[in-house]
Symmetry: D2
Subunit: 333 residues, 4 copies
Amino acid sequence: MAVTIKAGIVGGAGYAGGELLRLLLLHPNVELLFVQSRSQAGKPVYAVHPDLLGETEMLFSADVAIPVDVLFLCAGHGEAAKFLAENEISAETKIIDLSQDFRWNEHTTSDVVEAGDRSFVYGLPELQREQIQQAQHIANPGCFATGIQLALLPLAKQNLLNAEVHVSGITGSTGAGQSLSATSHFSWRTENVSTYKVMEHQHLREIKRSLLYLQAEGQPDIHFIPYRGPFARGIFITAYLQSDLSLEEAQALYKDYYKGHPFTLVTDQNPDLKQVVNTNKCVLYLQKHGNMLVITSLIDNLLKGAAGQAVQNMNLVFGLDETTGLKLKAAAF
Amino acid sequence: MAVTIKAGIVGGAGYAGGELLRLLLLHPNVELLFVQSRSQAGKPVYAVHPDLLGETEMLFSADVAIPVDVLFLCAGHGEAAKFLAENEISAETKIIDLSQDFRWNEHTTSDVVEAGDRSFVYGLPELQREQIQQAQHIANPGCFATGIQLALLPLAKQNLLNAEVHVSGITGSTGAGQSLSATSHFSWRTENVSTYKVMEHQHLREIKRSLLYLQAEGQPDIHFIPYRGPFARGIFITAYLQSDLSLEEAQALYKDYYKGHPFTLVTDQNPDLKQVVNTNKCVLYLQKHGNMLVITSLIDNLLKGAAGQAVQNMNLVFGLDETTGLKLKAAAF
Amino acid sequence: MAVTIKAGIVGGAGYAGGELLRLLLLHPNVELLFVQSRSQAGKPVYAVHPDLLGETEMLFSADVAIPVDVLFLCAGHGEAAKFLAENEISAETKIIDLSQDFRWNEHTTSDVVEAGDRSFVYGLPELQREQIQQAQHIANPGCFATGIQLALLPLAKQNLLNAEVHVSGITGSTGAGQSLSATSHFSWRTENVSTYKVMEHQHLREIKRSLLYLQAEGQPDIHFIPYRGPFARGIFITAYLQSDLSLEEAQALYKDYYKGHPFTLVTDQNPDLKQVVNTNKCVLYLQKHGNMLVITSLIDNLLKGAAGQAVQNMNLVFGLDETTGLKLKAAAF
Amino acid sequence: MAVTIKAGIVGGAGYAGGELLRLLLLHPNVELLFVQSRSQAGKPVYAVHPDLLGETEMLFSADVAIPVDVLFLCAGHGEAAKFLAENEISAETKIIDLSQDFRWNEHTTSDVVEAGDRSFVYGLPELQREQIQQAQHIANPGCFATGIQLALLPLAKQNLLNAEVHVSGITGSTGAGQSLSATSHFSWRTENVSTYKVMEHQHLREIKRSLLYLQAEGQPDIHFIPYRGPFARGIFITAYLQSDLSLEEAQALYKDYYKGHPFTLVTDQNPDLKQVVNTNKCVLYLQKHGNMLVITSLIDNLLKGAAGQAVQNMNLVFGLDETTGLKLKAAAF
């Protein structure tokens, strides 16, 4: 008998909320009961996300009164914690939060993050799928954090993350959300490149904690140059470190680590970002140059880096096949 | 009991072939038996369409020997007719051709285009769904032709296409296929605009025939300015003509015409192209300015304008729900 | 002896103000005495226009107290009139206003627009260069207005504008200025197309007045579809109308009309937008299809459509060669 | 009395040749006598570079028979050496070659590269302006090579380049020239990112030689990740290394090194690529994060990275002010 999961979204007017809507409306086991938005309450969902015209007649709701099996929080950093403090949510309701409020970080000593009566499991399926399957509350990872971790987990698992790691990564504009700013203005951003939060990106905090989870000792520094690129979707990451592994050994290690993980793929062909855009995939590519192991990692920041991974986590939490509702046609162009 | 349609693709290495692959691999009622490509025979499909990594291990085949229920021809203009002349295809096999070789045009006097033993029905479901459901062979419409016809069909149906029609339309680069040319070079095309085939676009021929099909008399000239735009996917069309209809009457007429057609939607909100990108939708928007009725029509040229419509036609031919395998997550960004 | 023109800019922090700065700092006959900006007063000019790093150490000023020979107003629509009402500007100072506040329109019966003690000449050199040379105050034309007029002036001059004119035009994002809005957000605009102010663009008002100036009788309607395109700079316009002229006659007419005008060129080769980007040129291209004369017109909206034309007007007002400081290297890519 | 330099271009139909044309036609001290192109001989220059319509009536020539003071070679890698071998060029003629044929590399032991009777000086003015001023033949540096060297020269000069250097850089599509290829196709490249020649870019060879020129001992490895970005013009480079310098010391060091160099500027504000596009500038920005010194370096690949630097070198060779003809209006958008 088919499972039906009753779901609600908090903060459905933003980019991540919109992607969740697109996914959940097509998900065969989900019945979406409400989409809350303070700014858009009362308007049809398609007035804000016009591609949903014809998909749903739902209106944004002002509140979250209807009981659901799972509540997705797309309220934004700081707002998620505030939301849970201010709203009475049934202890039965599973929560998947897309903000950084409940993610672990380098100071977290436990395997979960406690918040009042709730404890949040860090929701990276390729790191701890079993824990997610048992979890009641999930902290969905950040986008850069997802891409960088997937590039490094197999090494950490084997205690091979033993040299400084150098990372550069380029993100599309949707990574910065829909708020208007000088660096999101089209006239500025088109055909332009810049850097931000050089060496100090906040996602390094959750990355470090996850790597420590796999490799308890001897972790080296991670140096990270984040770039803003002139495109809307996707993250392209390159990481390298000194390694004694041959290319073949490294490929075997990565393919073995990700064997049972349907969305993370190791390619033998120099990849480009658009092969993951509008999918929940992470594509990894390995090169060896001298003693440097170079790992390329690509994701769609709004899917594997946000809403897609949230649905993947929901599938795991509710015992569904991990890929349900996530077999997406790539945009390709 | 679930239907399973055995399908093959001829010319699977190009843009339309790639989109067909993406759709058919996810289609619940299709078993894809081969993907032929002269230029890529023997290579894995994902070597050419790298977003299909992990989706299939199929190789491009050199020939089309395996019997199938439906054969999609993505061979290109002129090549489709040549292919059918040179290959023995079972009379049982249904054929959906994406080239212009078997489309009707202003000189066609019959309702079908005869080609040897075969007769091809023009495959625009919003024009003649019943004929398609009965058809053995389908000539899939052109991309601009689809967008412009959907903007005009309701008027023709009521014999209201009685004034000169002025059309401008902007197409993305995938409309020109994957062959390399000066106008497909990124350095040239990015941030650039140009026109081509002004007043003489070949799609006018099939458009005229379809309009004549609905409105036998008094058809006015259609003036068409096609633009090349600096983007990859989609067609944005604006058509206008003098009309006595009020805005409300026109909206009622269009909504009524497209009532049973799941992919063609009339919006009340000024639309933008990306709301149809990576979907099989056509979105129409009506305005009235003075005595001018202005119709905006948006499609994704590779989906509703090519591979998506081909699958829609397949669904109709095989008695499936028209939307099967075509409920796609919009790219949105 | 070299002329030195003392100049000031009001509203120097916006797009048009920035372009004026770029031009005036390189102009051999201009000494720029101040650049006023309410929002940025006290900051270095290069803090707002970072490409000017190394070009000038000027700071934005809060006021306009220093006497100058010419004052450029880039204050914005409505703000220019307010500025002149609130500030005491010497009667000696020539004024070139880039807003629409002092442009003529279809209701203007005089050849100039009176505003208090000042009378403004419409500053399109290809329309009335002699009047500009004698003018004290100039109303600089709008960007779409410039491109459309240059496409039609030669016909009006010969009383040949005697059939309905159909215009479509695509503008880059800088045409909408630097204010942040949903349609200027990169995530939205990249790879996107939309229309706005369909049939009702405000520039039609000044266009009609200019055409009437040349052709007193029998002017037909102009129907105009403005598109927003996914690029930053430039306007691409296509206009067509029924005409008895042969292509050769039309080409001769246009080449003759623009003979002495250094920036407006008639090409024999199908053009693309980027050949005028970062120049003060207008490129025109003529085609004849059946009885339709099709005119393509390209400009850079910030140069020939704004700041470049303002400098061209300054050159004329001060008796300099029209091209002084305007021989610009095209960006080309 | 004004100098007039008689100039010729070999290979004027490509991207670098086109930029040289744009610059030389506006240069106050240059008379351009011919522009040779094998593929386009006989055609007007503006037929290939349409932005030059109205700038010149020159035709591409098949040969290079006319004596000139300076000959620019834009023939391409390998073709420049072949050209000089096959053509009799007067010993009086100064040669500026834009290919890599005569650039020094890590194996060069002399300060010049000998080629038959000629000896080529490496043409990076910020490295050896005096030698360029005395040179007869110049090997113009590569684009990435220029940007990376300008990021590192001040450190090498002080023997402070004593830790491994980590470089990532993103290049626009014009860096790959105008030949058609899969990665230059608009449909592929728009909104896309990829890497190429990871750790093995050929420009590392000339970079190493230059650094050795300044710092004879103890040079560390340079690790370089080159990215292809979805834009046409420009290179954005980030380099970092461990350094004991404080931020203030590093800024002082860089400002001091580049004091007399008009095109290389040190900014105090986080920069973006477009502030150098369509200029001959290099903008440098320094940050200190922990013990890492991070240097950002921006150039326009076709100007400071190719044709602009070639003109800068010509100015030096002929005793002109270095900036003559190179004070360009930035595109800015």
